[in-house]
């Protein structure tokens, strides 16, 4: 029961007044980020990351992860009240949440959404508490070949699980790897792909890419759609909350199923968005009142919210235990770890006990704090949405610029951010997924290092990736994930040709 003792120690760390203050600030900022279009979880965390350079790492990660929880909560508010998903993972929440609000039940919908989010997150955190140390101690035995196999599996599941065309996923991912390779080669110390541009000596920083691709790109998309907010009023009172809470246990099957879907999708780097859609789809098929889905059914709010939050939280499991983030936001947090001088991966559980368990404890507390904050402050957050886009947009753009500048104190980065923004807009419009691109920038160097070290050990033979049971299993799983998409594509093409 060493873990339990560690966890209690973690609670002691997380419950320090300074950390609790950061937690509440993080949640509040996160909800605002989740509510505003153009400021997503990944990009919000990226912008605020430089603010944490001077903080102790544990406090920093507590604040940043709380921003993430806040963003997960915040996405639901706009979906339900305005039919505008503030985040991609809350698109499925609009299907039933918005009709509920229209029928004069916004309070019920919001309470159900927040509570299910909390349940999903709690489930995932408990899973992390139990599983992460085991995975980490297992992963301590990994050599370079096994490490590469894990990266291989992660990236293959992107190709297999994402709804975008597989070759677009591959193209986006490889662009990320190429960008990661630019600059000083970490093994030979040689310069590569810089083409004589001194600004590129240190390569592309993924934070700049995240802020540009997700922040600026999103603003450009919003501009194109010419969003006009038609605000509904929201109020939650204690009576509605308690009444909804009484009804919720009746949907325990849906909750449990959504938790499991979310955890699975979060650990494999598919992320919260597909998890929410999948969970909604399955709930619709299995629910007794499935025909009513889309017309304002509470279950249609519970299913996607639980899964999205479970997936968002579970994405931190592979990040903490293997050093492979399960979502773009987790990737940004991982980047933060590197900046604070911590080596992500299984050694964290050995060398940085206080950090890891402080973070895990803060997940319990942060989500509880998040639930309380959103339930009590919904009207305020809804009011933020009524601020017109003409004011919000320039402020977000300026914030992005500040964030991009403060990563390396370089104005070149700010220009790069804009370039990434325009590219992100074009890629998004052409249906190229951005998440694998970002993950590849973050993990590119590490994946390459593992790859080259394994080849070095085997004198260049690729057989090293199938040299023992463990590495072969992981590689085979990866190949199945790759193959999966090919089968599916072939199947759908066959169906198309038959139709």
């Amino acid at each position: 029961m060493e873990e339990l003792a560690n966890l209690f120690h973690g609670f002691a760390v997380a419950l320090q007044p300074y950390n609790i203050m950061l937690m509440v600030i993080g949640i509040t900022l996160g909800v605002i980020i989740g509510v505003l279009p153009g400021l997503g979880g990944a990009n919000g965390v990226a912008i605020l990351l430089p603010l944490t350079f001077s903080m102790p790492p544990t406090s920093a990660i507590i604040m940043l992860s709380c921003i993430y929880w806040g963003a997960l909560f915040g996405g639901a508010i706009t979906s339900i009240l305005f039919n505008i998903p503030g985040e991609p993972w809350s698109v499925a929440t609009t299907f039933d949440g918005y009709p509920m609000a229209q029928q004069g039940k916004p309070g019920e919908a919001l309470t159900a959404a927040f509570t299910s989010s909390f349940v999903g997150a709690l489930f995932a955190v408990i899973m992390i508490t139990l599983v992460a140390p085991l995975v980490a101690s297992f992963a301590l035995r990994f050599g370079p070949a096994e490490k590469f196999a894990v990266y291989f599996l992660a990236f293959c599941s992107f190709v297999g699980l994402s709804k975008e065309p597989p070759f677009k996923t591959i193209a986006a991912m490889m662009i990320g790897f190429a960008l990661a390779a630019v600059g000083l080669d970490s093994i030979t110390g040689q310069l590569r792909l810089t083409f004589g541009v001194t600004e590129l000596l240190n390569g592309f920083d993924f934070l700049i890419a995240v802020i540009g691709l997700f922040g600026i790109g999103e603003i450009l998309l919003t501009m194109e759609e010419g969003l006009a907010f038609r605000g509904g009023k929201a109020s939650i009172n204690l009576r509605v909350v308690l009444q909804t809470w009484r009804e919720l246990p009746g949907y325990w099957m849906t909750s449990l199923r959504s938790c499991l879907i979310g955890c699975w999708m979060g650990v494999t780097p598919a992320g919260a968005t597909p998890a929410s859609f999948m969970s909604y789809g399955i709930a619709k098929r299995l629910a007794r009142r499935g025909n009513n889905f889309g017309k304002g059914e509470v279950e249609g709010v519970i299913a996607p919210e639980t899964a999205a939050h479970a997936a968002g939280t579970a994405a931190l499991l592979p990040m903490l235990s293997l050093g492979v983030p399960g979502s773009p936001t987790a990737a940004v947090l991982l980047g933060g770890l590197l900046i604070w001088g911590l080596q992500p991966g299984p050694m964290l559980f050995v060398e940085q006990k206080e950090f890891v368990w402080g973070l895990i404890a803060s997940m319990y507390l942060g989500n509880l704090a998040g639930l309380i904050v959103v339930l009590t402050c919904v009207p305020i957050f809804a009011a933020i949405l009524r601020v017109p886009f003409g004011i919000i947009a320039p402020l977000i753009l300026v914030l992005c610029a500040i964030g991009a500048y403060s990563v390396h104190n370089s104005t070149f980065d700010v220009m790069l951010m804009l370039v990434f923004g325009v590219i992100g807009y074009l890629l998004k419009k052409c249906n190229y997924p951005l998440a694998p691109l970002v993950l590849a920038i973050v993990l590119g160097d590490k994946a390459e290092e593992a790859f080259r070290q394994s080849l070095l050990g085997s004198q260049g033979s690729l057989g090293v990736f199938f040299s023992n049971g463990l590495v072969s299993t992981i590689m085979a799983l990866g190949l199945v994930a790759l193959f999966w998409s090919a089968i599916q594509e072939g199947y759908s093409r066959l169906r198309m040709s038959m139709a």
Partner: protein, 165 residues
């Protein structure tokens, strides 16, 4: 708000799709070229610096060739966007480019003030009083939060120097 054009003319989605695939393909070729320059073979210390990126570049070229083929094949007649929508997008991109480009010379604060004011006036059509409140308020808050509280320095120009900040 700038007026949205009612016409539904605009560049075809297919064109952009093909252009994007070509662009990515060219990027892949650049990566391959750069890797060849760095050396893709086996050196004294194992695979040389260009080894890994070379295959990455090859994968990019391969994937975008397939994407190009797909884009060429299925033409659903969809528009990429209407010209009016693209004008909206450009009305953000161009001033942001000017804003970003001017930052090294006049500093972040002044550039932000001008940028916010421009945006609110021309795209939002707000009263000058509202504009002044936000265009000045935001950089001041930024200064207090970033430079005073979190000690993160931001780029400054001659005007800030004149204020002695």
């Amino acid at each position: 708000m700038t007026e949205r054009s009612r016409s539904d003319a605009g560049p075809a989605h297919k064109t952009l799709e093909i252009g994007m695939a070509l662009l990515i393909g060219v990027f892949g070729l650049i990566v391959i070229f750069g890797s060849l320059k760095a050396g893709i073979n086996w050196g004294a210390e194992g695979p040389r610096a260009g080894f890994f990126p070379f295959y990455v570049g090859a994968a990019i070229v391969g994937a975008s060739a397939l994407n190009l083929w797909h884009a060429q094949r299925d033409d659903d007649g969809r528009l990429f966007a209407e010209w009016g929508q693209l004008r909206q997008v450009m009305s953000v991109v161009v001033p942001t480019a000017i804003y970003v480009g001017s930052m090294p010379f006049i500093g972040l604060y002044v550039a932000s003030m001008v940028f916010i004011a421009w945006f609110m006036r021309w795209l939002g059509g707000y009263r000058w009083l509202t504009i002044a409140a936000i265009a000045i308020g935001m950089p001041v808050v930024t200064y207090l939060v970033f430079e005073r509280w979190f000690l993160v320095p931001l780029p400054k120009g001659p005007i800030e120097e004149w204020f002695g900040l």
